[in-house]
């Protein structure tokens, strides 16, 4: 009679990890992170204070604010 030896739980999980990369994201977290990345990108293209405006404003009014 053949007896099947029960595999060790830790070995089984380690083997599974070895053949299935652990790189998981919750779909909602992923969507939010991508949205943040897009917002950052958009902010990068359209700065809050376009170059030159602050210095012109400062020259005219003697103040940066």
């Amino acid at each position: 009679v053949k007896t099947r030896q029960r595999r060790d739980w830790l070995d089984e999980v380690f083997d599974y990890e070895a053949s299935h990369p652990v790189a998981f994201a919750s779909p909602r977290a992923l969507m939010e992170a991508r949205l943040i990345a897009e917002m950052d990108k958009a902010r990068g293209h359209r700065p809050a204070h376009p170059r030159g405006i602050a210095s012109r404003h400062r020259r005219r009014n003697g103040s940066a604010f």
């Binding site: 830790l10 990890e17 790189a23 998981f24 994201a25 919750s26 991508r34």
Partner: protein, 209 residues
């Protein structure tokens, strides 16, 4: 405070890895995974998790240490705080960090796991490093226990559900997983029992001390 340690298999031995809270320098470091070629899901998730961490840090809603997290909870028991955990070890000279987990502490004192990524192609002495993902879940359960958190949950996908199912010993994981107090304790006990069998007695004593 005792560090959160788990063990991985590297070059035929079980070696210790420390799980710690990431501060800005550590977050910048894992963000650099995106420079890996070829691009992988892990590198994309690391970059996005870092992006999210910086966004919430600007809002004052992250913790860069366990003390910071405890202090934030003490100030406001209903605060929602995000944090990034990174796993690293001194013996892994080629890789500063082996894995990351982006988590949130919710208003009702539960932990949510949003991102879990193990750096691909990890090796030591020419052999793959095994068991990092499992160790991360064990480490997260240990952190939850030290915080008195009784539930860890997260969304699962077609690719992550089998992993969570195997680690938790519940093949029924579908599109979310929930680890309550008893399964969390069982997971830790099971992991520690296996560890005890594999570590040298002196190392086991050091681990327990």
């Amino acid at each position: 405070m005792k560090p959160f340690i788990f063990y991985v298999e590297a070059a035929g031995e079980f070696r210790a890895v420390e799980l710690k809270f990431a501060a800005e320098a550590e977050v910048r470091s894992v963000r650099m995974w995106r420079k890996m070629a070829p691009a992988t899901d892990a590198s994309e998730f690391a970059a996005l998790a870092a992006k999210r961490w910086f966004y919430y840090t600007r809002e004052g809603a992250t913790a860069a240490s366990l003390d910071e997290l405890r202090a934030a909870i003490a100030r406001n028991a209903r605060s929602e705080i995000a944090f990034l955990l990174v796993a690293g070890a001194e013996w892994t000279t080629r890789h500063r960090f082996l894995a990351l987990a982006y988590c949130r502490r919710t208003w009702c004192h539960r932990l949510v796991l949003d991102f879990l990524a193990v750096r691909p192609e990890l090796s030591f002495a020419g052999q793959p490093i095994r068991g990092v993902g499992t160790g991360m879940i064990f480490g997260l359960a240990s952190l939850a226990s030290s915080l008195g958190v009784d539930v860890i949950w997260g969304e699962a996908t077609a690719s992550s559900a089998p992993f969570y199912g195997k680690v938790l010993g519940t093949p029924s994981v579908k599109d979310f997983f929930i680890i309550r107090q008893d399964p969390m304790r069982r997971l830790r006990q099971r992991y520690l029992a296996k560890l005890k069998k594999r570590l040298a007695p002196s190392e086991w004593r050091t681990y327990c001390s």
